[in-house]
């Protein structure tokens, strides 16, 4: 029987990470739930290979201009990290402050933005918005380099309020203008040089360098502005200080965190948790880490209702299956192909479709995407030569009486070790029936890749193809 502690810890690690294999799960269980929450929320050394070493294997990642190599690089970081919450948080902000390669043609600046999310994504929301407003990729993405003291461009000012903080309906068109004026002069230091480089669209002779932020006093409109009922000679930081004070901002941030880290659909109990997170937002001085701590300790989060209440996003699906199978722990050929698989499922890293990010939840599911999801996870988890799958086989053998599993043991054992995953009675009976076709499984004396091991692989394939496996 699977203990509730194990199931709850697996749930936490699906949300604050990309799921966990049994070894990881046991390490976190040893810390206890509260200890695990703190370890996840306070990332230390992610243990990834240094970039210069990675690039010996991946020349395409050296230059980091190119989209495919850069997306694969981030995926490798997600696969290999021992601080999964750091990458999960970066993925959250990447979806919320969605900045895409299409307009930038500059993956290096995008990866710098992701690094900023790693560094600041669990800290103060006020500081995060200031960093975001100075982020070169964002400045280009939403045209703040075209926002001048003499002629404003409202794009960033508008989206900062609508998509990044308060949400539509909580400010006026005049507030947008005031906001945009405050961010005039927040621009790029090397724009002219970079635009010459871009017009040649050449990486030669020195490769791409990243944009950097520059504040140009002479292009800043220092006049009086009225914003959300307050008046002053506001600069960008002043505007952000006003934004973060708003109740609507607290609700917006809490809701988005809830939907990404807890459940796609907000129930009554979920609404109560969002309100607790809003209270923490104010009491902590806008700290994201504290809001998430409130979430992870809430009754709602620990309840059955929150389990499997999210459709796995493609990145979670791919990274989760690879981590479970134990593949790509070091940079390896073929990682770009795997990274493209996420794109085929509808979520290409560094290329959100619009500034609104991805439509998540049930919108991940369409027939083309489902075929990709099932085929990928089924293939990844059925390969008995993968280290993670070998470990599952050893655990199954060790847990069985004399190494013999009856069909129900095999189905339940695989469901347990891939999660534990809870499935409907119908699903379980199909799994058991599938195993029963070949009777009891004798794993004693199994050899790598033999028929007995392949039967485990076949069961893992089928579990990876269940409806329930689509959920996190």
């Amino acid at each position: 029987m699977i203990s509730n502690d194990t199931a709850l810890m697996a749930h936490l690690l699906r949300r604050a990470g990309f799921g966990a294999n049994r070894n990881e799960l046991e390490e976190y269980l040893a810390m206890g739930y509260d200890g695990a929450v703190e370890a996840l929320l306070n990332p230390s050394d992610p243990g990834n290979m240094p970039d210069d070493l990675i690039r010996r294997y991946h020349v395409e990642q050296s230059e980091l201009r190119d989209l495919a190599g850069s997306a694969a690089y981030w995926m490798y970081r997600m696969i290999s990290t021992s601080c999964p919450m750091e990458e999960k948080t970066a993925l959250f902000w990447h979806g919320l402050f969605a900045t895409g390669y299409a307009k930038l043609n500059q993956a290096r600046s995008l990866l710098n933005q992701v690094e900023m999310f790693r560094r600041s994504g669990l800290g103060s929301f006020e500081e995060l918005l200031v960093e975001l407003s100075k982020d070169p990729a964002m400045i280009v993405w939403l045209d703040n380099n075209e926002n001048h003291g003499t002629a404003i461009n409202e794009n960033y000012g508008r989206e900062l309020l609508e998509l990044f903080s308060m949400g539509i309906g909580n400010y006026s068109e005049d507030d947008i203008k005031g906001c945009a004026r405050a961010f005039t002069g927040w621009t790029l230091g090397n724009a002219e040089y970079m635009s010459i480089r871009a017009s040649k669209d050449s990486i030669w002779p020195y490769g791409r360098i990243a944009w950097h932020f520059d504040y140009r006093e002479e292009d800043h409109d220092d006049g009086e502005k009225t914003f959300l009922g307050e008046t002053g000679n506001f600069n960008g930081e002043d505007i952000i200080a006003i934004i973060v004070k708003q109740e609507s901002t607290a609700r917006f941030v809490a809701t988005r965190l809830f939907q990404f880290f807890a459940a796609d659909v907000i129930t009554e109990a979920g609404e109560k948790t969002i309100e607790e997170m809003m209270a923490t937002y104010f009491s902590s001085g806008y700290e994201i880490r504290d809001m998430l701590r409130t979430l992870f300790h809430s009754d709602y989060f620990k309840s059955e209702e929150a389990r499997f209440a999210r459709v796995k996003g493609p990145v979670e699906m791919v990274v989760g299956a690879i981590r479970m199978a134990g593949n790509y722990q070091n940079p390896a050929l073929g990682i770009e192909k795997v990274s493209n698989t996420m794109l085929y499922m509808g979520q290409g890293l560094l290329q959100p479709p619009t500034v609104e990010g991805w439509h998540e939840g049930s919108e991940w599911i369409d027939s083309g995407a489902l075929v990709e999801r099932v085929n990928f996870a089924a293939k990844e988890l059925s390969d008995v030569s993968s280290p993670g799958v070998r470990s599952i086989i050893h655990r199954l053998e060790a847990g069985a009486d004399q190494g013999v599993l009856d069909p129900a043991d095999l189905a339940d054992g695989c469901l347990d070790l891939l999660g534990p995953i809870e499935v409907s009675e119908e699903t379980r009976s199909v799994l058991v029936e599938y195993a029963a076709r070949q009777g009891d499984l004798d794993l004693s004396g199994h050899q790598p890749g033999d028929e007995a091991e392949k039967r485990v692989g076949n069961m893992l394939r089928l579990v990876a193809a269940t409806r329930e496996y689509q959920l996190a």
């Binding site: 299409a102 307009k103 930038l104 619009t354 027939s367 099932v374 119908e426 699903t427």
Partner: protein, 377 residues
């Protein structure tokens, strides 16, 4: 869905990477062309003349053959205002018909929704190749993406046929079972069954198809062959999409561009022969486009990203001929060293949607655009 009168289908071949307009439809009588393209040019004596001013790239023999039969519409100077030289952004613009803001829905996704609003046929729109081009993406619209028609479906990596059959059977039971009250589980169940059903139907296509046409070994030819198989299986597929590339010829252009056009023209020639053999020449039209053309001045080995390009509409029902003006190479007429677009791509979309597919174009392409008379009435 069986109909005796076949309905019209659109086949799209996307040339990814920015096809070099100047070396596709070559202005071989213009001295300026040879001035700007001192290295990366098609010599006068190699061009396949269309008239005394323009000629096809020498790799486009099969297209010239169709041109002579008046089945090829050349749409000159196609693009949009304020050109964007990023592959991704420009392709997005073509896919979503939204040059000014970032669009959410693909134009063909919207078309599929209009053709089959209830989503009754899971095969109304099909992409051949992996992943879904944004042109076909639209919330709530199911589009099959077929990497390889012969292995399309679930668990293609399972070699043992018996094992694969058992696994598919189990999948079908798991996705067909009662979903309870949970709408997400229900959606998953329905989608899984749609995917199985689509795969089952699609897998019948190759067996139903006979043809004496031999397609080439390259990926485009194979995808186009799959398109022909599915089209001729009468499965109600209205939009069949594929892409080829990379046309991003920054260096070594003459060789790579020639090879690509050998493949594109070859595949188009085979497909048209195939349609003729099946008596379906007037039932399918082929759109060929690229996200932009290339810089007027060559870079010594290839050409860099540019603006206006060329599109083709090909088919038995197409009014062959030259449409629109070839943009001037004169310096005053250029836009930052590029050919200036004088035909909005959405006017071509409008013509296809209204005159070929019988749909209301304005809501799909986000506005009213004058159209060419591309199709025989």
């Amino acid at each position: 869905m069986t109909t005796t009168k076949r309905e019209k289908s659109l086949i799209v071949i996307q040339l990814s990477g920015g096809n070099d307009y100047l070396n596709t439809v070559v202005p071989y009588s213009e001295g300026k062309y040879y001035d700007y393209r001192s290295t990366v040019n098609i010599p006068q004596d190699k061009v396949i003349p269309i008239d005394d001013r323009y000629g096809f790239n020498p790799s486009m023999g099969p297209v010239k053959f169709l041109w002579d039969e008046r089945k090829v519409a050349i749409i000159n100077g196609i693009g949009y205002q304020n050109p964007n030289r990023s592959h991704f952004r420009s392709m997005d613009i073509w896919h979503t018909a939204e040059p000014d803001s970032i669009g959410k829905e693909g134009w063909l996704g919207r078309a599929i929704r209009d053709i089959d609003p209830l989503g009754e046929n899971v095969l109304t729109g099909i992409n051949f190749g992996r992943g879904l081009p944004r042109a076909l993406a639209c919330p709530g619209v199911s589009v099959a993406s077929v990497g390889d028609l012969d292995t399309y479906g679930l668990f293609p990596d399972v070699q043992d046929e018996e094992l694969r059959m058992f696994t598919l059977e189990a999948f079908s039971k798991m996705y067909g079972g009662a979903a309870g009250r949970d709408p997400v589980m229900e959606l998953l169940g329905q989608t899984g069954q749609d995917a199985l059903q689509g795969a089952d139907i699609l897998r019948t296509a190759p067996a139903m198809y006979k043809s004496s046409v031999e397609y080439g070994p390259d990926s485009l030819a194979q995808n186009v062959k799959s398109i022909s198989q599915v089209f001729h299986a009468n499965l109600g597929a209205k939009i069949l999409y594929t892409q080829h590339g990379p046309f991003d010829t920054h260096s070594g252009e003459l060789l790579s561009h020639a090879k690509l056009w050998d493949e594109v023209a070859g595949a188009i020639g085979c497909l048209m022969d195939d349609l003729k053999e099946h008596g379906t020449e007037d039932d399918a039209s082929i759109l060929v486009f690229s996200e932009f053309g290339r810089r007027i001045q060559d870079n010594g080995s290839g050409s860099d990203h540019g603006s206006a390009g060329v599109a083709f509409m090909i088919g038995g029902a197409v009014n062959g001929g030259m449409y629109g003006e070839y943009p001037s190479l004169a310096e005053a007429e250029q836009i930052d060293g590029d050919l200036r677009a004088n035909n909005d791509f959405r006017s071509v979309y409008t013509g296809i949607l209204e005159d070929w597919m019988g749909l209301d174009a304005a809501p799909i392409v986000n506005g009213q655009f004058e159209k060419f008379d591309l199709f025989k009435s």
